[in-house]
Amino acid sequence: MAADQDLITDVTDVEPVEIPGRWDFAFTYFAGNAASRFFAEIRENRRVMGTRCPKCRRLLVPARSFCDACFERTTEWVPVSNEGTLETFTIITAAFPGLPEPPVVLAYVTLDGADTALVNVVTGVDCSDIDAAAARLFEQPRVRLSFVAEPQGRMTDFSFVLAD
């Protein structure tokens, strides 16, 4: 039996415990046949493919196995043009581990023939003056695909560059 003077009634006079934590879990993501074919076409043929929904008839880019709007499996595979129109953009100014040094231009581009836009990096834009770069992109310029020397079958295999 503890003596009265041993009873603890105040817990505020302690050093609060902090335990460092880190969430680090390994995953293997299976892309499935549709995305695998999409990436293989980029790697082998340097072209972007879409799939057509049999119900709404939209050509969905990037290619996928089903149209989530109609909830139907897609049926046809169709290549789209390597050129398109920049619809909207942002200029990223914050650095993130593992990604290119900012500033980085990200754009929403509808490649000719596609019914949906593809988001990727725009390279080759002089961003030394952000406002001047934005003024150029505000014109919604034509862009084309530019592939890396040795494509790996990933989204990072290509970027958009201004067509003219």
Binding site: W23, F25, A26, T28, F30, G32, A34, F66, D68, F71
Partner: protein, 354 residues
């Protein structure tokens, strides 16, 4: 109270099917459940999902996955717990008149993540994780607590019969894709058969073949040392509430589909529910196919899809379409689903042939 019915079900179990992405698995199951319901997509107004970011490896993963469950332009919520809980949440929304016809979908893909790392990561950073707790360790503690009282006689016969049922179930995955070391006193044959699951149900207020007769939910304390590991009070409470809701007694239930991580957890649940006398669960399981006729966790396991999988198996039993594991024309079934962390939360659902 509004009567609710199950119109369509689908259960897609596989292992490391590299032809399909996670969203492909979800689409296939939900599409199959809608087709099974015979209802047009347009008549479905809502989606309730059961998924875990940590299991999916996709944060806020319903942005990626919900459209694969037909959420586009529909009322969608995600329940970050077991699929039977999502089913219960869908029930309340239908009963409230907020929705008329709902898809409930749950999934878990064990082949994409490290099941041991995720299991360990579920525990709190102060008392659980530092000492190395994981889900199998909890099951082993529970099993040993039972063995202290009752011994292990009849254990082999119970598992043999369970494996035989799983082997007959055409929807089962019977070979675990993950090799785990069994913590004492568990044995390899009692461990979960890890698999990839996408499960879907279409539920509505329109009369259909299977009626949702009752629902109950309950929860245990967090600290394992505070829990009655053998008595499973949250399961007992949830099942009692569901049976009362249905106006039925346990003796009126002809098929039970129990969610349990390991075979031992299944045996303890059988006793906790009162299906078998304390210490007699192995004998009971060796003689009865009416508890987990599907094979339970021997037919494939991955949280948080399991409670919904149990509901689908129970529905097939009541419809008489369970295939080689079909029981003799059951009229009432009890299905349960439990959360992670040693089945801390429990949901029980009573279904009836309408």
């Amino acid at each position: 109270m509004t009567d609710l019915f199950i119109e369509g079900v689908a259960l897609d179990a596989s292992w490391r099917d590299r032809d399909r992405s996670l969203t492909d698995l979800i689409f296939d199951a939900v599409r199959a459940a809608i087709d099974d319901s015979g209802q047009p997509l347009e008549g479905i107004d809502s989606v309730v999902l059961a998924a875990h970011d940590l299991v999916d490896g996709r944060s806020l993963s319903s942005m990626v996955t919900a459209p694969a469950a037909a959420a586009y332009l529909r009322d969608e919520i995600r329940y970050g717990d077991d699929g039977a809980g999502a089913f219960a949440a869908a029930m309340t929304r239908l009963e409230a008149g907020h929705n008329r016809r709902t898809i409930v979908a749950g999934w878990g893909r064990a082949s994409e993540h490290d099941v041991d790392a995720v299991s360990h990561g579920l525990f709190d950073p102060f008392f659980g994780r530092p000492v190395g707790l994981d889900e199998l360790a909890v099951s082993a503690l529970r099993a040993q607590a039972w063995i202290q009282r009752h011994g292990t006689a009849g254990r082999d016969a119970a598992w043999r019969r369970r494996r035989e049922r799983a082997a007959r179930n055409p929807r089962a995955v019977t070979q675990s894709g993950v090799q785990q070391s069994a913590p004492y006193p568990l044995r390899p044959e009692e461990l979960p058969v890890w698999a990839d699951f996408a499960v879907a149900v279409v539920m509505s207020t329109e009369p259909a073949g299977v009626k949702v007769a009752g629902m109950g939910q309950s929860s245990d304390p967090y600290h394992l040392g505070d829990r009655d590991l053998v008595g499973m009070p949250a399961l007992v409470d949830a099942a009692g509430k569901a049976l009362a809701d249905a106006g039925a007694a346990l003796s009126d239930v002809e098929v039970v589909e129990l969610d349990a991580l390991t075979g031992f957890d299944e045996a303890l649940a059988v006793e906790a529910l009162g299906l078998a006398e304390p210490g007699s669960a192995f004998g009971y399981l060796a003689e009865h196919d009416s508890v987990n006729p599907s094979g339970g966790c021997a037919a494939g396991y991955c949280a948080p899809a399991m409670g919904l999988a149990r509901i689908v198996e129970a529905t097939l039993q009541l419809r008489g379409t369970a295939g080689p594991v079909q029981q003799d024309a059951p009229r009432r079934a009890l299905a349960t689903g439990s959360s992670t962390i040693g089945s801390q939360t429990q949901t029980a659902i009573v279904l009836e042939a309408a």
